[in-house]
């Protein structure tokens, strides 16, 4: 019987290696799998490259990985949040490298990784300093830049419901980056508020089919309290 549900955060994080590229779901705090991030801190992997829309808030979640000096590089679209203190400290101390890219390019690069597309052209960033050094090409008289797929070793995602096959649903805007990150990594780990029986999910409504998911941890934490 296929059963992707694991019992502990330690099991969920088993085997994650130093130097991994970690795709971290969420937009601000919404849809961000805090329990898995804490598990990753506990697990101890270091020299991580983290791909996330934001660079952590206060002293929670991703911020804890900065404080513990586990992150070598962060790739994000918007490092500034209401309180990016841990990131800024690490960044100013030269402990972490920052790569900023347009939000849609970040999403599409991961979707490409998941879809077997090694590279694609996009109009986003053409004529700006974020396009410097990038290959440019015209199609139909308009300029585009080449962007390569962004692959993860690990994706940490947050879901609303999950079943033992790893099928996932999301809630409202907590969907955000989670489905594309789930597609783009070799190992995808989800934390889910609810575990449901196989067959309980509406087959018309599975934004992340279990084929993209390796492990599921039940984390019924209730309502997010920060955005």
């Amino acid at each position: 019987m296929i059963n992707k549900i694991v019992k502990t955060a330690a099991e969920a994080m088993a085997g994650i290696r130093d130097g991994s590229v970690v795709l971290l779901g969420g937009f601000g705090s919404i849809g961000l799998p805090y329990a898995l991030v804490d598990g990753l801190l506990e697990q101890g992997a270091k020299d991580l490259t983290v791909v996330a829309n934001n660079a952590g808030i206060g002293r929670i979640g991703l911020a804890r990985l900065f404080d513990a000096n586990r992150v070598r590089k962060i790739i994000c679209s918007y490092p500034r949040t209401a309180d990016p203190i841990a990131f800024l400290e690490a960044y100013r101390a030269g402990r972490v490298e920052l790569e900023v890219m347009p939000q849609g390019t970040m999403a599409e690069r991961m979707r490409a990784a998941g879809a077997g597309i090694p590279a694609f052209y996009t109009p986003t960033s053409v004529g700006t300093k974020l396009a410097e050094g990038k290959e440019e090409r015209e199609f139909g008289g308009r300029k585009y830049v080449l962007e390569e797929a962004l692959y993860g070793d690990v994706a940490l995602v947050e879901a609303w419901e999950a079943d033992r096959w790893g099928n996932l649903t999301y809630r409202s805007s907590a969907r955000n980056f989670n489905p594309v990150m789930a597609m783009a990594a070799k190992l995808t780990v989800a934390q889910a508020q609810h575990i449901v029986e196989l067959g309980a999910l509406d087959p018309e409504q599975v934004p992340t089919p279990g084929i993209f998911v390796d492990r599921v941890l039940h984390v019924p934490y209730g309502e997010p309290t920060v955005t």
Binding site: I30, S77, Q103, G104, S172, S173, P224
Partner: protein
Amino acid sequence: MNVNVSANVLTACRPWSRVDIAAHAARDIPEGYYVNLGIGIPVLVADHIPADREVIIHSENGVLGMGPAPAPDKINRWLINAGKQYVTLVPGGCYMHHADSFAVIRGGHLDLCVLGAFQVAENGDLANWATSASDSTPAVGGAMDLAAGAKAIWVLMEHTTKSGESRLKHRCTYPLTAPGVVKRVYTNLAVLDVTDDGFVVREMAPGLTLEALQDVTEARLRIAN
């Protein structure tokens, strides 16, 4: 909430407020438009669309059909906008993931994106994400995708910086978000179109003359025929 403009202009006119600016843009959005509203003055636009005019608001974090802020006891804590404020979903709205949301943007499906900006140049260049080329922690978010993708870009901003420097430029001095994309600018002093011949003034704040407006504007202005 009026902004800092040079003294001669201030004495000569009654500048529009941030709410006025948003209301002006709202007035000009046709029914049926799909619109993304940026952080800052643009988000205020939603509150000023006439109740009998259906305009569908997109938020790049995967919300299509965004409604106003919820009552304090009706908050859905999983539903935020791109500025990370709690919002609502209107009937007919739906959620999508980030790659689909940016397919909407990049694919040219938005009729309009209303953005804030630091500077707009008379050739339509937009600078709204970084105030210097050496900014050590630049934050681009979805700005470049929106600027490159929407069918039209309108900018809502104050006419000058706090120190009185014009935000309507001959050429942008800040790093670009996208070249040549801005179609219209709403400021506290004027509404302007960006044309092949540069900025054309469509409307001015009460009491303002073109000469006074030109005085506080770096870019050359023309009056609409």
